[in-house]
Symmetry: C2
Subunit: 161 residues, 2 copies
DNA sequence: ATACTTGCAAAAGCTTTGCATTTTT
DNA sequence: AAAAATGCAAAGCTTTTGCAAGTAT
């Protein structure tokens, strides 16, 4: 077994494929970030992405992570989120509409989707005379201690951070 | 008619009253900010509050505006919002629950309240095993040009910026 | 008199950018 | 070869803070 390097590829990650589809010039750094993102199922901030990247190969600077993440956002591959705490966090864009509930005690992020919610928001905007372009929604909650046999959520929760 | 000064009061503003109730030490600067806030029905950022304040009396610094606004937030008199654009904006806390729809073309902010929405969000959180502590919701929309005789909104819109 | 508030300028924290150099296409 | 990406350090922005001086209770 040998150490994978920056320029050598070992299969194309999901996000790298998206980058190629959109015609991005693929450098070793971008491949590395694409791989790190593809393997992340949470919502890392730039600092964290940078940490995960240099753990694999340190020929990358944090400026490049910032630039790449912004580029991927512009290309619709990533979505920028704000969960509080002052830094932007990133989420893969193509996992279907979902929202986030942040556990205020632990900081954990729970994703959920909900069609009733989606429909209601669209209707509200429409009633005000607007076509909904974007929704920013974060719920902050505290785990219910007295949970009376936790009901199965209807909103198909997707993944936890 | 004469020029009102920093230390002289001309009636107590709504927000000043709240400050006093919560036992804040009332300086001329705080009275000034309280008055500016009381007379604002939009969602100013700190820079804008500072501008409005010095227009009345310039014996105040922006550091004090930052400190005061933070204090008022801690005391539950103001709520901090993020409508994009990188700076925090402030909203009086006691006007009942409402949400915001931002016109992406003009930046105008429309407030609305909606009980169905409120109920649904609470239910969603509950289904996930959480008690809802706080909601951050902003809708971004574009005015519908082909508005077929604008329907009266149901969600009792409150005020416009 | 004591504890708190203010101003100023400096510092912090996140993010962007200018420029010379390297890399991709 | 031309166009674009990278690294580094510097700069940008909003917001916070240390400290000496001033003010409210």
């Amino acid at each position: 077994m040998h150490t994978p390097s920056l320029t050598e590829d070992q299969g194309i990650s999901r996000i790298e494929r998206l980058c190629i589809e959109r015609g991005l010039k693929m450098t070793g750094q971008r491949r590395l970030i694409a791989r790190v993102l593809s393997e992340s199922s949470d919502h890392p901030d730039v600092e964290e992405l940078y940490r995960r990247a240099i753990a694999r190969d340190d020929r990358i600077s944090i400026a490049t992570v910032y630039r790449t993440v912004r580029l991927l956002e512009e290309k619709g591959i990533l979505e920028r989120r704000d969960f509080g705490g002052g830094r932007a966090r990133y989420d893969q864009a193509d996992r279907g509409h979902h929202y986030h509930l942040i556990d205020v005690d632990t900081g954990k992020v729970i994703e959920f989707a909900d069609e009733r919610l989606e429909a209601l928001l669209g209707r509200i905007a429409g009633d005000l005379g607007f076509r909904l372009e974007d929704t920013r929604l974060e719920l902050f909650g505290r785990r219910q201690p007295e949970a009376p046999a936790p009901v199965r959520p209807r909103g198909k929760p997707q993944r936890q951070e």
